[in-house]
Symmetry: D2
Subunit: 139 residues, 4 copies
């Protein structure tokens, strides 16, 4: 019996339990996870840039996947307790990626740092974030 922590199983859970999410898992590592999101016209804010909330959403999702990495299992009820994000430069493109890296895991939380970029421009981050996911406590 395994924890089945693989990309396809994670994405199947997202599709089933969070059908409104446009973010998908594209990579899972020992201490990181990568999420991706296709950009659509509704994501474009004044100036022609990808809006902040779209970038927040992919970062939040990458940290959710990272919490699965930290816990060693898919835990849909891991919840964001807090997240801070800084926008570094205008984001223009068709697809966003975000890599979240593990900072710490405890009984109560998973903490990570995340970087967002436009596909093809991994050397030019458009946002950087840090956040905490709360692990469900036993009752």
């Amino acid at each position: 019996m395994t924890s089945q922590l693989d990309i396809d199983t994670v994405n199947a859970m997202v599709v089933e339990q969070y059908p409104g999410s446009r973010n998908r898992c594209v990579e899972l590592g020992l201490d990181h996870a990568v999420a991706a999101c296709d950009v659509t016209p509704i994501d474009i804010r004044p100036g022609g840039f990808i809006a902040g909330p779209t970038q927040f959403a992919v970062a939040d999702c990458a940290l959710w996947f990272l919490s699965f990495v930290g816990l060693g299992r898919i835990e849909p009820m891991a919840l964001t307790s807090e997240l801070s994000i800084r926008f570094l430069r205008p984001a223009i493109g068709d697809r966003l990626l975000c890599r979240a890296t593990l900072e710490a895991v405890s009984r109560r939380s998973v903490i990570g740092t995340a970087h967002v970029w436009v596909d093809g421009q991994a050397d030019r981050y458009t946002a950087t974030a840090q956040g905490t996911y709360a692990v469900p406590l036993p009752r």
Copy 2:
């Protein structure tokens, strides 16, 4: 000639320049602004709760409107430079509201604090946030 900082003019700008945004201005004061968003099925995450990114989006938008209050004019190109958000309790309902309150205005930025709640439950905030909007610099 006035700066036309009223709710209808703000919302007309949003509809025209940021058509994908589902957030609207519902109140503008001397030191605050309120944004609202109708919740749809795509906003629901596992557990049946309104997702974090939806709450972030309404907070980010309330702070955008607050930057207009701080500047005394509609400034579509005011951009979020950073925002931190904390989730306080599960959010369940049909409509989100967020009040942003002015903390400081300078030549370069507008800083505010924001509280998010579900319509009808203004005494039970679901999220609290603080953030900075960058004011466009003269070239």
Copy 3:
């Protein structure tokens, strides 16, 4: 027997268990706490302003006292899990105050918003912060 959540008992605990702290409790309410700190020459950074870390320290301490309010008891082992701070304007003066206001209490954490000002200028905040204190979990 009561929880003895009063200012003198809080300060006696600080003096005994955290003797290096220069921050003291000056007010405890039903949903807030106020900390104060006398400014000394070591707190002055270039420009003649009170340094950021000194302002952070009084905010962190006010949130610690606020966690006692939230929990209804003095809990020295409540620990900051995260804190974000924004500096609003230069701070010049002899004494700093910080009021922390309760946002949420759960089994695992206390969340609050804090405002820092120089004594005598309560209408001109020098910093605003939000943070989370972790409540010790039962073993």
Copy 4:
């Protein structure tokens, strides 16, 4: 004529203009800076741990030095505009180090990510932070 961005010149500025600071520069790179601080009894909070504000101070200082790296010059009047910090595990030891890494530089700000650890335990960060330094604007 050079910008004299070297460790000794940075520390000489700190000693002269910010004599109360106990943090020193120990490394400057092309995209990072490292600050260090000797821990003293006044830094110890209940539980025997190095207090949060001491860790914040070394992170804030590392980001200040990082702003010099980003700007290519020593700029004492670069000021923290905002900083968020997360505490990862208890910090116990005699000396703190913090490495700040550059995320972005613009006309108005320098943004970086910082990791704090106890000397000798660089594989076990005690805190992680991100923040923004404001660059003085021309008048």
